[in-house]
Symmetry: D4
Subunit: 221 residues, 8 copies
Amino acid sequence: LRSGIPEVVYAKNKDFDDVILVLKRSAEEKGIALATKVRREHILKLEREKEDITKNLNIQDYEFIVNHKACTIVLKRRGYKQKIHGKIGLLAAGTSDIPIAEEVKVTGGFLGCKVIHSYDVGIAGIHRLFEPLKRMIEEDVCCIVVVAGMEGTLPSVVASLVDIPVIGVPVSVGYGVGKDGKAALYSMLTSCVPGLVVVNIDNGFGAASFAALLARKVYKP
Amino acid sequence: LRSGIPEVVYAKNKDFDDVILVLKRSAEEKGIALATKVRREHILKLEREKEDITKNLNIQDYEFIVNHKACTIVLKRRGYKQKIHGKIGLLAAGTSDIPIAEEVKVTGGFLGCKVIHSYDVGIAGIHRLFEPLKRMIEEDVCCIVVVAGMEGTLPSVVASLVDIPVIGVPVSVGYGVGKDGKAALYSMLTSCVPGLVVVNIDNGFGAASFAALLARKVYKP
Amino acid sequence: LRSGIPEVVYAKNKDFDDVILVLKRSAEEKGIALATKVRREHILKLEREKEDITKNLNIQDYEFIVNHKACTIVLKRRGYKQKIHGKIGLLAAGTSDIPIAEEVKVTGGFLGCKVIHSYDVGIAGIHRLFEPLKRMIEEDVCCIVVVAGMEGTLPSVVASLVDIPVIGVPVSVGYGVGKDGKAALYSMLTSCVPGLVVVNIDNGFGAASFAALLARKVYKP
Amino acid sequence: LRSGIPEVVYAKNKDFDDVILVLKRSAEEKGIALATKVRREHILKLEREKEDITKNLNIQDYEFIVNHKACTIVLKRRGYKQKIHGKIGLLAAGTSDIPIAEEVKVTGGFLGCKVIHSYDVGIAGIHRLFEPLKRMIEEDVCCIVVVAGMEGTLPSVVASLVDIPVIGVPVSVGYGVGKDGKAALYSMLTSCVPGLVVVNIDNGFGAASFAALLARKVYKP
Amino acid sequence: LRSGIPEVVYAKNKDFDDVILVLKRSAEEKGIALATKVRREHILKLEREKEDITKNLNIQDYEFIVNHKACTIVLKRRGYKQKIHGKIGLLAAGTSDIPIAEEVKVTGGFLGCKVIHSYDVGIAGIHRLFEPLKRMIEEDVCCIVVVAGMEGTLPSVVASLVDIPVIGVPVSVGYGVGKDGKAALYSMLTSCVPGLVVVNIDNGFGAASFAALLARKVYKP
Amino acid sequence: LRSGIPEVVYAKNKDFDDVILVLKRSAEEKGIALATKVRREHILKLEREKEDITKNLNIQDYEFIVNHKACTIVLKRRGYKQKIHGKIGLLAAGTSDIPIAEEVKVTGGFLGCKVIHSYDVGIAGIHRLFEPLKRMIEEDVCCIVVVAGMEGTLPSVVASLVDIPVIGVPVSVGYGVGKDGKAALYSMLTSCVPGLVVVNIDNGFGAASFAALLARKVYKP
Amino acid sequence: LRSGIPEVVYAKNKDFDDVILVLKRSAEEKGIALATKVRREHILKLEREKEDITKNLNIQDYEFIVNHKACTIVLKRRGYKQKIHGKIGLLAAGTSDIPIAEEVKVTGGFLGCKVIHSYDVGIAGIHRLFEPLKRMIEEDVCCIVVVAGMEGTLPSVVASLVDIPVIGVPVSVGYGVGKDGKAALYSMLTSCVPGLVVVNIDNGFGAASFAALLARKVYKP
Amino acid sequence: LRSGIPEVVYAKNKDFDDVILVLKRSAEEKGIALATKVRREHILKLEREKEDITKNLNIQDYEFIVNHKACTIVLKRRGYKQKIHGKIGLLAAGTSDIPIAEEVKVTGGFLGCKVIHSYDVGIAGIHRLFEPLKRMIEEDVCCIVVVAGMEGTLPSVVASLVDIPVIGVPVSVGYGVGKDGKAALYSMLTSCVPGLVVVNIDNGFGAASFAALLARKVYKP
Ligand SMILES: Nc1ncnc2c1ncn2[C@@H]1O[C@H](COP(=O)(O)O)[C@@H](O)[C@H]1O
Ligand SMILES: Nc1ncnc2c1ncn2[C@@H]1O[C@H](COP(=O)(O)O)[C@@H](O)[C@H]1O
Ligand SMILES: Nc1ncnc2c1ncn2[C@@H]1O[C@H](COP(=O)(O)O)[C@@H](O)[C@H]1O
Ligand SMILES: Nc1ncnc2c1ncn2[C@@H]1O[C@H](COP(=O)(O)O)[C@@H](O)[C@H]1O
Ligand SMILES: [Mg+2]
Ligand SMILES: [Mg+2]
Ligand SMILES: [Mg+2]
Ligand SMILES: [Mg+2]
Ligand SMILES: [Mg+2]
Ligand SMILES: [Mg+2]
Ligand SMILES: [Mg+2]
Ligand SMILES: [Mg+2]
C-alpha cells in the first residue's frame, strides 16, 4: 500500500562504514540519500576522508552534503534536482533548539518540502514571533513545526495564534526537571489549545516526515 | 490571526448549569455547540430534565444530541446543516478504546469532517485491518486517527502500511504498567515508523481538532 | 525570631470537631482564624449545624464565613477588622483553576492583603490577559500569583510581560500526562523567563502566605 | 534440586583478571565456560594478550572465542563438543538490536541449543518477517526470542502470528522517552496478545537461559 | 499461521450484556468460553439472573461456572470435556496473591492444562516451600507460574532451587512504594537467577496462556 | 510593559565564540553583561586567551571577571558602577552546594543587590545557622535564598525560624535517590512551613533574578 | 534459627472472617494476637458484632482491643500480661501522622516494648521538640521511631540532635508531589545526618518490629 | 545533646586539597579521620604524592590508609588505637556489591565496631549463606548489614532466617530497570519480613554509622 517516501538512515548506533554503504546504495537507487543522528566523530571522519571514500566507493558523480548542527549527511547524485511537493513552516524557541530544528529543515528538504524557518522566537521575547508567523501565513504553509526545549511553551502559543496545524518537537536541553526533555513533552501534550500534535523528544526527523506526508496531501491538486 | 474553528466546551470540571449555559450561548452564536468529557451524571441529568431545561432556557428551536459512549453533548439549532470540509479516517484497536474513538468521531463531525471509521481492528486480529485501510485509501482521507490502549501498537502498524499521515491517540485502559496509558503513549512516541504523531492520553478532542485543521488545508482548492 | 503571621489550620486529614475546636481557640486568641482544604462533607455539615455549633461552643460573638469553591472556613469575631498590609495580584488560567485561585484569595485576605484578581485569562484566549495586567501594574501590586493547570503556561507568559515577581501555582486538573499536575509544575519550574518561582501543586495557601510575607516587606515604609 | 545448567560469568563489574580466572576454573571443570557483558576494553585486552595469558595460565589446550557484537568470551577445551538439547528461534527488529540478539545467540549455543536467527525484520518492513517465521515453524523451534528496542512492537506482532511461545527482550537503544528501553519493556508487558513473556531490558542472557531450560523440557523424550 | 488456542474475553471494560453475548457466541463455536477480569458487580448480576439469562439466550444446554476469587466466568456446553495437553505448577506467595493465582488456575485449566498448585508459601515462611516444589518435580510439570506481590522475591527463590522454567506474575497488593506492583515487577525483572521470565502486573491470564503454549510444545510427543 | 532587568546569557549549549559575542554586544549596550552555566572548558579557554580576545574584539575598556565555582563570566566596562537596589540573604547547606550558591551571589550582584551570604550551615550542624540568620535580620534583607542538595531540609528550617520570604534552590548533588536533585526539590515543595517558594534544581540564576525583582519592589520608597 | 517474635496478621486484603479466625488461632497459641491495617468497615463490624463473635467462636476468656486510629485489633486472653523487653521512643510530626504513629505504638507494645511517645512536634513548631527528646534520653530509650509525612524533615532533625538510632517512617498524607509519601521517603533516605534508617511509607508495623528486635538486643544483659 | 561519633568527610564533590586538609584537621583533633566516596583520581593522586603531602602538611606522625575498593581514606596518628564498642555482621550478595560492603567495613571499623563479614552469598547460591549466618549468631553481632544490588532479595531472606536486626543497603549495579538501584531499594522497602530497615542506595556510610550507634547501645553494660 505504501510508496513514495524514500528511506532515511538512522545512524546513531551504526558503524561508520555501514552508514556510508547504506547511503551509497540508497543514493544509487533514488539519486539522493539522507542519514540523521550521525555521531559527531563520524561527521568529522567523513570530512577528513571524503576524497578517499569517494574514490574507494567509486561514487565520483555524487557529493556529500554535511550539516554540522543537524548531524546529518546527504549523499546526492550531482545534478539531481529534488521535486518540491509543498511548503512547511519551522520555528525554534531558543538557540539550544537549533540542532533539532536543523534536523527538521534538512529532512523536510530531503522529502521535497520548501521549509520557511525562523529561529530564536521563544516566549521570553514573544514580540519576535509575530513577523515570522505572518510570513508563514502569507506563504500558505501547510503546517508549522515548532521546536522547543525547557518548558516547551512555544507550540501552544503558536497554535493559539494561528489556524494552521502545529507539530511540536520537544528538545532535551536544560537541566533540573527539564534535563531530559520530558517537561517540554508533557507541556505540549497537555496544552488545551486545539490544533497541536507532538512527536518524541528530539525527533526532528519524525516531525519532518509527518509534515512531508501532510504537504503531499495538501499539494495534490 | 485565528478564525473558523468553533470553540468546544471542556466539561470535566464544570458544574452542570455552567455547561448548559455555555452551550446555549455558543449555539446561539454559531448554530451549533459541543461539550466533551461531560460527566456521566450530567449526561443522565440532561436526559431526565431535557424538556424542563429547554423550556427554562427558552431554546425550543434547538435540540440536544447526546453520545453516551463519547460523553459528549451537542446543542444544535433545528435545521442547522454542518458544512463539510474534508474526510478523515478513524480506527480503534479494541472495544475498550471505543469511548475515545467516539469522542474523535463526534468532534470531527462537529468540526465539519466526514469521519470514516472502523473499530476492533487491533493487532491481536491483524487481518481485520486490511479491508478498512483499503476503504480509507479509496475514500482519499486526508489523515487517519488511530486510537489504541494497552501497548498502543496499532498506530505504528497502520503508519507502516500506508502513506497517509497518522495521528495516534493513546488510551488509559488496561492494568499493571499499562493502567494510565503511558505505555501506549511511549510506544507511539518511540515508534520508528515515519508519518506518525501523537496527542495526550485520551485526548480524542485534540486528535480530531488537529485532523479538522488539516482537512481544511487539504480541502481548500 | 518569628512573629506576626497567624497560624492556618490544614483541615484535610482532621476530624470535623477538631477543625472547629482549633478554629475556636485560634479566633479567641487573634480575633480571626482560617481553615483550608476543608473536606466537602465538613463544609456541608457546618452549614447545616452552624446554629447548634455556635451555641454549644458558646461563640455567639463570632461568625463563620464559608467559601465553597475554595473549601475554606473563616471564624471571625463580629466587628473584627483585618489590617491591610499590601496588595497582591491574582490570575487564573481556566475555569478549572478557580478553586485553587479562591484558596489564594481567601488566604491572602486573611493574611492582610488586598487581592486584585482576574480569572479565565489562559493562553487559549491570550488577548483577555492584557487588561487585568495593566490594572495590576497601575494598582502597584507587590507580586502576582498565577494559578494554572494542564500545561501551566500562563505564569511564564505573565512573567515575560511584566517586571513584577510572579508566583506560579500548578493545579491538578486535566487528564493523561497532565492528571496529577506534574506537567504544569515542571513547565513552570523549567520556564526560561526570569522572575518566576513556584509552590507545590494545588498549594494556594503556600503561594498566598509567601505573597503576604513579601507584601509586608514592601509595605513597611 | 538443581543441576545441568552450567554457570555463566556476569563480567560487567569484574576486573579483567577475575573474569579470566573464573573462566579458567569453570572451563577446567565443565570443558567450556562463558562470560557475558564483558567490557569493551577487556575484550580488546584479551585479543592483544591472548598468547601471554594462555601461557601464563597454562591453558594451551583451551581456546578463547570472542564475539565483539555480543561482548562475550567463551573459553573451551579444544575438541570439546557441545551436546544439543533443542532448537530456539531468534529475531531482531533493527540493526541496533543486534548486540543483544548476539548475546542471546552465544548464550543459547553455550547452553546447548541450536539457534535459528534472522535480523532486521522490524515492523517498518513487516513483509520481511514472514519468511523467517515460516522457517522457524518448519524447524519446529520450541520458542522464539524476539529482541526489539524503540517501541518494542515486534514481539507482539510475532506472538499474534504464531502459536509458539515468544520471549520478548527490550533493548535500551533510541532516545527521548525511549532512551532507557522502558518504552519497549512496557509495550511488551502490556501487549494483549497471548503467549508472550518478557525479561529485563538488554537481558539477552536471561532470555537465552530460560529458552534453554524450556528446550530441554521439550527435547526430553 | 495460528491455530488451536481459543480466544479469551477481557471483560474489564465491557458491558455486562456484551460479555455474556461474546461468551455465548464463543461457547457455541468451541463448546467452552472464558471471560477474565469480570467486574465484581457483573459476577453478582450473573448469579442473581442466571436463570433468566439462560432462558432469554436460549442456552439451556450450557452452564455458567463462576470463580469469585479469580473474577472469571466460564460458559460450557453440558458434557463438554476439555482435552488435557500438559501439566503446569502454580505457587502463590501470600494470601493477598490468591485472586491472581486463581486467574492463572482457571485460565490454565480452560486452555487444557492440569494445574498443580500450592498457596501461601512466601519467603516469610520459606520452609513451607519445599514440599510443593518436590511434588511439582515428581509430577514433571513443564513450568511453574509463581505469583507474588510486595517485594516479589518468591519467583527468584523458586528459580534458584529448581531447573524448571519459572514465569513470575507480580501482583498489585501492598502499600507505599509497593502499592501498584512495580516493586514486585522490577524485583523479578532484575533477578540474577537464570530461568525466570515475567508478565505484566496482575496478568494471570498472560502467564497461563504462555504456560499453555509451552505445555503443548512439551506434550507433543 | 517590561523594563529594567538586563538580559543574562545562558551559556550551557552555546559555542564559545557566540557566548563572547553576545556578552560584548550586551556590555556595549548596558555597560555590563553576565553569562551563567558557562562550560568549564570555555572558562579555561577564556583565561588562556583573554588578551587576544580583548584585542580582536576591540574591547580594551572592558574587563572579564570569571567566577570558577559559579561558572559565570561578567564583562564590564572599566569604571562601570552597579547601582544597588536592595539587600538579599544567601545560605548554603553544605560544601557541595557552593557552586550554585555562588551563581546566586554573582547574579544577585549583577542585578544590583547586596548579597549577604553564609555557607556550610546545614542541619547536620544546625547551631551554625543562628548567627548568620541574626545578621540577616539586622541587615533587614528583603528575602533569603537557601541553597540545599541531598534531602533539602534547610529552606524549611530557615522558613520556620524567620518571617522573611525564603526562596529554596534544590541542588543536584548526592547519589542514590538524591542523585538528580528531585529529593531536595520535592522536600522543599511539600514543606508545610509557610513563606517558602522554590525554583528549578540548580537554578541559582532563577532564584537571584526573582530576588532582585522583589528587592526593587521593597527598595522603591 | 528464628524464634521469639510472635506473628502479626496483615489484614488489609483479608476477609473479615479470616482475620478473626487467624487472630483466634494465634491468641490460643501465644495468649495474645495482633492484626494491623484492618479495614475501617471490619473495625466497625467487629464492634457491632463483638458479642456474637465471641460466643460463636467460644472465646469468652479473650477480649478484643480495638484502636480506631491505628486500625489495629488485639485479641488477648484475659489476664495475659505482656513481658517488657525494653523501651523505645516515638515521635510524630503532625496530626495527620498520628494513625501511623499509633500503629507503631500498638505494635511496639504488642512486641513487649514500653513506648514513650510525643505527637505534633514537627519543624513548623520546632521548639516543642526539645522537651520530649530530653525525656527520651533520660528514659534511655534504645531507639526513636520518627513518623513524618509531607517533606519528612523531622527524622533528620532528631538524628542531628541526639546520638540515639533513629528509624524514620514516611507517611502518605499531603497532596501534589507529596501525595503518595515519596517526597517524605526520599527526604529521609537522602539525609546526610548519620544514624537514620528508613522503612516503607506507612509501615508503622515494620518500624516497630525492627525497634523491638533492637530493644531485645539492648535489654539482654 | 550529641557527642561521641566522630565526623566523616563526604569527599565526592570536594577538591583534593580540601579533602586532605579536613582530614588533617580532624585527625589532629581526634587521632583519626575518615573520608568516604573519594574520587578514584584523588585516591591515585594521594598514592603518588603521599610523601610530599606528608612533608608539606607536616604530618609525619600520621599515616594514610587507603581502601581502593571502598574509595576511602583514613588518616591516623601512628600508634593510635581505636576502642571497640561492639560487633556487627556484614553480608554482600554478589561481587559487584563489594565496593559498598567495603565502605561499610571501613566506616564500621572507624566508628569502633568489630565487623564480621562474608561476601558473595546471594540467593543464586543460597546454600553459601548458612555458614556465615551461624557464625554471626555465635559471635552475637548486634545487627547485620546486608548489601545487595539487582533485585535486592538477600536482606529479606536473611531477616526471615534470623532474629537479629537487619539493615539493607541497596546497590546501583546492574542494568535495565535495575540500573540505578531503585529495584533493589523498593524490593527491600516492600519486604513483608519483619526486622528489616533500609538506607539510601550505595549508602554504606549510613548503614555503618547507624549500626555503630546501635552497637554502643547494646554494648553499654
Ligand atoms: N476533551 C478536551 N480535551 C482537551 N481540551 C479540550 C477538550 N474539549 C475542549 N477543549 C479545549 O478547552 C478549551 C475550553 O476550555 P473551557 O473554557 O474551560 O471550556 C478550548 O480551548 C477547547 O479547545
Ligand atoms: N486478563 C487479561 N489480560 C490481558 N489480556 C487479556 C485478558 N483476558 C483476555 N485477554 C486478551 O484480550 C483479547 C480479547 O480482547 P477483547 O476483544 O477486548 O475481549 C484476546 O486477545 C485475549 O487474548
Ligand atoms: N502492617 C504491615 N505491613 C507489612 N507487613 C505486615 C504488616 N502486618 C503484618 N505484616 C507481616 O505480614 C506477614 C503476615 O502476612 P499474612 O500471612 O498475609 O497475614 C507477617 O510476616 C507479618 O510480619
Ligand atoms: N558516604 C556518605 N554518604 C552520605 N553522607 C556522608 C557520607 N560520608 C560522610 N557523610 C556525612 O556528610 C557530612 C559531611 O559532609 P561535608 O561537610 O560535606 O564533608 C557528615 O554529616 C557526614 O556524616
Ligand atoms: Mg491554532
Ligand atoms: Mg506511513
Ligand atoms: Mg517578568
Ligand atoms: Mg501467538
Ligand atoms: Mg532455576
Ligand atoms: Mg517563615
Ligand atoms: Mg544522631
Ligand atoms: Mg528476622
